[in-house]
């Protein structure tokens, strides 16, 4: 199982039955594959549908039915088309149960930076700032390090996405919950020790006992 699959499988466990979930493009979008259909979860694509389904069969693609990345998708039975006003009304209004987003950095306060690297990459924030401001739970799904450098840092050096701390950080090495007193290490990846997680993490981790290994 590679790092991405570990992350996606573990995040999928956080998705409660019947909830409304937004998955960011890239790694977060993999989560959908590991949420059983019978859990009755509705995926929102912020570009305009509640009830996003998998890729359509070859030849059945509809140019008017895509996800936020522009890829062809299907709509599940009971799906609803929504315009951007409704889509972000739902997001900012607290109607979205969970958003799963990628991250460039998360810091000891639980604050996320995921929309720009000044001077290098200025893609724009898209819906990220609204998602972090408005979703009931914000889960960051990202690899633990980038080019060997920790992404969980003492304090974000990149521009913040929001002043609101995220709810949970899931990487291939760990599940971490930001709280008022810092980052709590809850689970380690398969075969990973708490010490190894801390070694790959710039921010200090709080090891309050009962640290489990992820069950995937």
């Amino acid at each position: 199982m590679d790092a991405k699959e570990i992350i996606a499988r573990r995040v999928a466990q956080e998705i409660a039955p019947g909830s409304l979930v937004n998955l960011g493009i890239g790694l977060p979008s993999l989560v959908a594959s590991f949420v059983p259909v019978e859990r009755g979860v509705f995926f929102q694509a912020e570009n305009g549908v509640i009830g996003l389904g998998a890729r359509p069969p070859e030849g059945m693609e509809d140019p008017d039915l895509t996800d936020a990345g522009g890829g062809f998708v299907t709509a599940v039975p009971g799906a609803a088309s929504i315009d951007s006003v409704m889509s972000f009304g739902l997001i900012r209004g607290g109607h979205l149960d969970v958003t799963v987003l990628g991250g460039l950095q998360v810091d000891a306060r639980g604050l996320l930076a995921n929309w720009m690297v000044p001077g290098h990459m200025v893609p724009g924030m898209g819906g990220a700032m609204d998602l972090v401001a408005g979703a009931r739970r914000v889960i960051v799904a990202m690899q633990h390090t980038a080019r060997g450098k920790p992404k969980i840092v003492a304090r974000c050096t990149l521009p913040l996405t929001a002043l609101r701390p995220v709810s949970l950080i899931v990487t291939e090495l760990a599940v971490i919950r930001p709280e008022a007193d810092g980052l709590h290490l809850l689970e380690c990846g398969p075969g990973v020790t708490p010490e190894a997680v801390q070694a790959a993490t710039e921010a200090p981790l709080i090891l309050s006992g009962g640290i489990r290994e992820m069950t995937l």
């Binding site: 305009g48 088309s81 924030m125 898209g126």
Partner: protein, 217 residues
Amino acid sequence: MKTAITAAQAAALVPDGAVVLIGGFMAVGSPHRLIDALVARGARDLTIIANDTAMPGKGIGKLITARAARRVIASHIGLNPETQAQMIAGALEVELVPQGTLVERIRAAGVGLGGVLTPTGVGTLVAEGKQVLTLEGRDYLLEMPLKADVALIAAHEADYLGNLNYSLTAHNFNPVMALAATTTIAEPGQIVPVGVIPPDAVKTPGVLVDHILERPH
């Protein structure tokens, strides 16, 4: 009853220097024939307000490649390296706006509200230079309405009166943009008789639509 206009006639209604709302999301639900006509006309110095600038060669990306824009107000330009290159070269001014804020700023202009009070962006770069109001213990940014000279929108169907409906994820910014411009030009996939779109299915009332692009040949 509205009169259908040609793409060239529509492009002539968008003068150089105009502020233009353009519907679509990554080129899905964009008014492609109207965009092509603007490129063909050689439009210049536009301010384009849209969710994104799509990719080179697709949707709004064609206007970027044609250097028709002087300014872009969008939530995302990450999939169009030409937008980034023109921005870095100083040829294009880009204002990045959170997507939910962008749609509410357009809506505010369209429905006569003085501004938007949103929690999105508080404490980030987006908040720079903006007024913050603390209301019932929470901070909100005051964001200003975005009004345009022309809205170019795509629809699924239009009837002869300009009533519009939209399909699946091709709704996106189109319905709200129909409210926020002095002149609204709709590019429908089909034009149908009055009554084919029943009252409950109309998402943009024809009274908001000034011109309908003629059917594709």
